[in-house]
């Protein structure tokens, strides 16, 4: 009988993951968000298979052509297929989002958790540093870093990533501060858990849901920022397809050929919305207290 219980334990482990997904699927908005995000990922990964044309192939004879059956979203100022460029652009946006969030979370969260848990001088030093970084508007900080590092996709990702670190440090700190006074942390100490065990098993998992939500929301912001920097000409170099740069390119023709700027803008909007909806849904699904 005991053996049965043990095997059941492992299936329960998987059951919990399934449970989170089940609750995620129950919310329509979260489901819509998930679908948008999935489409975004799939198109980024399978861009060569999905795009109808070569995103770099130009034809000045057909510049600014209206949407047609062959070119569903029309052609841009150099006669390139807008749909293909949007599909390829998802790759850049995905890459930017993932790298930026990774830098922010992997550097910011440990600092925040350590800062809150140990308090005192450690907290003071880390928080004054965070304050200094937060004093600059994020985009300004990113611009400053780009000025130091130089223009280019890698530097944009590093710059935007660094400018999100203080946000995660603050967020992690505040949720750990609230949690560390809870009795179960004291109870964990009373059974002889070490500091690192308390941090990893008790503090981090309990402070994770705001961080997960923040990072999906940040994914949206990061895409926007990258688009913004691309719009300013600080991101990728032409002719690489990037949503912000495409928006910038279409800006001049907004009166004669509105589709050139509209579709990349719409894509940014839908993707950002998708990540926001998913983030919101995840927060609810990850909270075992809301389980019904």
């Amino acid at each position: 009988m005991m053996k049965e219980n043990v095997t059941k334990a492992y299936s329960n482990e998987r059951g919990r993951v399934r449970e989170v997904f089940r609750r995620l699927f129950k919310r329509v908005t979260a489901l819509i968000g998930l679908i948008i995000v999935l489409i975004f990922f799939v198109s980024a990964l399978l861009a060569p298979l999905l795009s109808p044309h070569d995103p770099l192939e130009h034809s000045l004879a057909h510049k600014l052509a209206n949407p047609s059956w062959e070119y569903p979203l029309g052609r841009d100022e150099l006669g390139r297929c807008i749909l293909s460029r949007i599909i390829y652009g998802a790759r850049i946006s995905l890459l930017i989002g993932v790298i930026v969030i990774s830098i922010g979370v992997l550097v910011g969260v440990p600092f925040g958790v350590v800062s809150a848990y140990y308090g005192g001088k450690v907290d003071f030093v880390i928080q004054r540093f965070v304050d200094t970084m937060l004093a600059f508007p994020g985009i300004l900080l990113a611009l400053m870093l780009i000025a130091m590092l130089g223009v280019g996709l890698h530097n944009v990702m590093i710059a935007v990533g660094i400018s999100t670190i203080p946000v995660y440090a603050r967020l992690a700190r505040s949720s750990v501060l609230a949690i560390k006074a809870r009795q179960y942390v004291e109870a964990a100490r009373s059974i002889g858990s070490s500091h690192s065990r308390i941090i990893i098993k008790h503090l981090v998992p309990n402070s994770l849901s705001p961080i997960i939500v923040q990072s999906t929301l940040h994914m949206a912001t990061a895409i926007l920022w990258a688009a913004g920097l691309g719009f300013l000409g600080l991101g990728v170099n032409p002719p690489t397809p990037e949503w912000g740069a495409m928006l910038n390119g279409g800006r001049l023709y907004i009166r004669v050929a509105s589709h050139v700027a509209t579709f990349p803008g719409l894509m940014i909007f839908i993707t950002v919305l998708g990540f926001n909806l998913l983030g919101d849904g995840l927060r609810d699904a990850l909270d075992p207290r809301l389980k019904t």
């Binding site: 043990v6 059941k8 179960y184 109870a187 098993k201 075992p288």
Partner: protein, 324 residues
Amino acid sequence: MSALLQVRNLKTYFYTDAGVIKAVDGISYHLQEGETLGLVGESGCGKSVSALSILRLIPNPPGRIVDGEVMFEGRDLLRMTEDEVRGIRGNRIAMIFQEPMTSLNPVLTIGFQIGEALELHRQLNKEEAREEVIRLLQRVGIPDPDRRLDDYPHQFSGGMRQRVMIAMALSCNPKLLIADEPTTAVDVTIQAQLLEIIKELTSRLGTAVILITHNLGVVARYVNRMAVMYAGRIVESGPAVKVYGHPRHPYTIGLLASVPRLDQPRKKRLIPIDGQPPNLIHLPAGCYFFPRCSYRLNRCSYESPELTPLDSEHLVACFAETTV
């Protein structure tokens, strides 16, 4: 017979902006193996702080153990390294807290949380730990333990959670269990069940218990000896039968008179103790109970009475003891 636990002159102070709070101000007591000691007193008298001090769980800052020694199995816990104390916590000395609703981590299953101590101190692997957890849950009377250990704390009622806490505390067969008001947050019918479980399991394991409570009825039923605390000091201690039956300190007398008893006429009025407990930052010069005491003498206002033995077991800290 040497004592399992010997607390001598323990002082725990909290350093705040308003001043130094003497939460525990030089208390001494001892505990034999397998014995149950009741630590009684009203809110804020230092019961919990004195218990947390034993395991060095006082948050620092602002709290600090400034003096004293806590001898446990022949070693002073206050002079051990952090690593050594960690090896004792949960293993040799375990603790149950007051609030079953908040003393379990909401995002981990109870099976995991009970298994934690087993993993830390008994080096069991996952499967062994799981079997042990099922056995522990069975012992504290949780039905269907092999299914329930994968549940989260919010799926349990308050009483059931406190059973989980008891299972967790007793998982490594500790020599000493500190129960900090384990039944305060649950309703009366559950209180009795929980205390019975604690009593039965600890007597089977030979675990000594420090039962912190302000419920005098609980004391009468479940403890061998009791110590009454007031404003961070022990004012009276001795065998429960003696202290309960023949209290000698004015505060103990006041406490007992303010509790309804079944063996007295129903019409009898309860007698409250006048006034408030003292501010722990600005304590009176003499006996801390002086302002509220109805037996007070002149010297009580400037001289502080020591805990002195009446007989071999019964101790009381009062100058007016003979007239009481």
